[in-house]
Amino acid sequence: MTAGQLSVGASSGRASSPGVAARKLGRAVLMYAVLVLLSLIFTLPLLWMVTTSLKEQGQVFQVPPVWIPDPWRWDNYPEAVRRAPLWLWLYNTATITVLATIGNVITASMVGFGFARLRFPGRDVLFILLLCTMMLPPVVTLVPKFIMFRTIGWNDTFYPLIVPAFLGTSAFNIFLVRQYYLTIPLDLDEAARIDGANNWQVWLRVLVPLSMPVLVAVAIFSFVQHWNEFLDALVFLHSEQMKTLSLGLRAFINPNDASWHITMAASMWLIVPMIVIFFIGQRHFIQGAAMSGITGR
């Protein structure tokens, strides 16, 4: 049993006495109990949204909250599609998100490599400058940004939401990849260099394969961020056929119309793809330096 790699049920061969076995079992039971309890708490908002999306209007704000709808109103979902062009918004959101995520992953990995592995004059100052870009609240630069993109004619296009991703504007992801690269032993680079690899080959053939867990994490973060992006979409997208899901769904929340059950049903178009992406992506958290068998030591 190790701190970083708790292994429940995996026999270590040393569990010979019944006391040790009982303690192991006890620890496993405790761990599953903690997992069930914690994950139940963390799953609450989604459970509440799903059940609300299947309720009748009268049950939505009932106190204490109703967790199992009675009756089940499956018709809320077709009703949501009738009220708004959800499939078009889904298509727009997917277009922006997929392209922006590709841009984020490529630039984060590339720029992260430059800052972590190569030495050049002004590197440390430039890196602090990169961190500085995250320290000014986004609401402050919103108006100048709008004026800038309108001037170059990108108003009401997808460009302001996609192009910045290809120009490394996600300092968060660059910083994350840089920190991860710094945990990978230099010996691996040097071995590749002995074999004649240049910097680009070291990046693509050594560090990128070893950093899959963090690149998948970057992909998931960018996906969720762009899928949910509201402020930029609100400022730059205006016409009905350009809208994204998060922007369109905001219009669903109408103060004069308390049909939260329909709003929650429509919200599933927003939420379900993100859960699916995360569910698929998380498998790749367990591939990388630790699995490669190379330790550098």
Binding site: L6, R119, I128, L131, G168, I275
Partner: protein, 324 residues
């Protein structure tokens, strides 16, 4: 294993990457040329960010700085205001109060979030059944729209029929007003901030994967128990990722906005008036854009100072396996 032998000898002999071409051609300034080539590659690798910074990020940042010296209500023509916005900063009691609230929130929220996220990540790094399900469950609050999370928390905090008070009264304890109580409003929002740690957990999970298994095996052979292994293997090896979460946690926490904006509007008695919430009210509700910019740049300086301190302190506790 053979790789590690080659690697260590290469690491000792060459500081810069030895390119085969350079080794063949005798040259007078060998190292400088290699260093120059590395520098050129360095600029090429960071070029996407550098170009993006110059073209997209720098302009709006400079513009927001210039706005400090301007009086503008978003609609009319901007007028030169000189230093009035900076003078106003010194007399405005709410600026200091909002910075105090924000610092208080950060001081408790960041360590709590990081500790909990690390514990969950270690739990989720284990060989348990249904890992995919557990990991997804912990990530869920990070993908659910903020509005849905807040509706749920308003119910949980509710003095009359909320979840927390139901639990308290079960144990015969007095009911509390939670986020609507001046003394509990900040702790309540700090508690709420532990909800959306999905990203932090994912980053710790990725970090744990970079710890070589052989180090744990070595520690076990040396008789190191679970805590010793955590303290002397896990923690040093993931310290670069801990630094990341700490720096980003502080940067984001100082910009806390959404939960207070949607739940408390800064109340009760301004106890949850955080700096970004205040500057939002100044710039977009009172239409004093220039003064809002001035507050934003004060916050920028505060965050910068905290980050630079973190950066310097990191030399003492962050261990880089692959730093050049």
């Amino acid at each position: 294993m053979s790789q590690s032998i080659i690697g260590s000898s290469a690491g000792a002999s060459a500081v810069a990457g030895p390119a085969p071409v350079a080794a063949q051609i005798p040259r007078r300034r060998g190292m400088t040329s290699l260093a120059r080539r590395e520098a050129i590659d360095g600029y090429l690798f960071i070029a996407p960010w550098l170009i993006g910074f110059v073209l997209l990020t720098a302009g709006p940042m400079i513009a927001s700085f210039v706005l400090i010296f301007v009086d503008w209500d978003l609609l009319g023509d901007p007028k030169w205001g000189g230093l009035t916005n900076l003078q106003r900063l010194t007399t405005d009691r709410l600026v200091g109060l909002s910075l105090y609230n924000t610092a208080y929130y950060t001081l408790f929220s960041v360590p709590l979030r990081l500790g909990l996220a690390l514990a969950i990540a270690i739990l989720l790094n284990a060989h348990v059944r249904g890992l995919a399900f557990w990991r997804t469950a912990f990530y869920l609050p990070a993908v659910v729209p903020a509005v849905a999370n807040i509706i749920l928390w308003v119910w949980m905090f509710s003095p009359t029929m909320g979840l927390f008070n139901m639990v308290l009264s079960t144990f015969g304890l007095p009911r509390l007003n939670w986020v609507w109580d001046p003394y509990l409003s900040k702790p309540s929002l700090i508690l709420m901030s532990t909800w959306t740690i999905g990203n932090v957990v994912v980053i710790f999970l990725a970090g744990l994967q970079s710890v070589p298994r052989s180090l744990y095996e070595a520690a076990q052979i040396d008789g190191g128990g679970g805590w010793a292994q955590f303290r002397h293997v896990t923690l040093p090896m993931i310290s670069p990722v801990v630094l990341f979460n700490l720096v980003m946690g502080i940067i984001f926490s100082f910009q806390v906005f959404t939960n207070a904006f949607l739940m408390t509007q800064g109340g009760p008695a301004n106890t949850t008036l955080f700096t970004v919430l205040y500057l939002y009210q100044v710039a977009f509700e009172q239409f004093k854009v220039g003064y809002g910019s001035a507050i934003a740049w004060v916050l920028f300086l505060v965050i910068l100072i905290f980050t630079l301190i973190q950066w310097k302190l990191a030399d003492f506790w962050v261990y880089y396996e692959g730093k050049r």
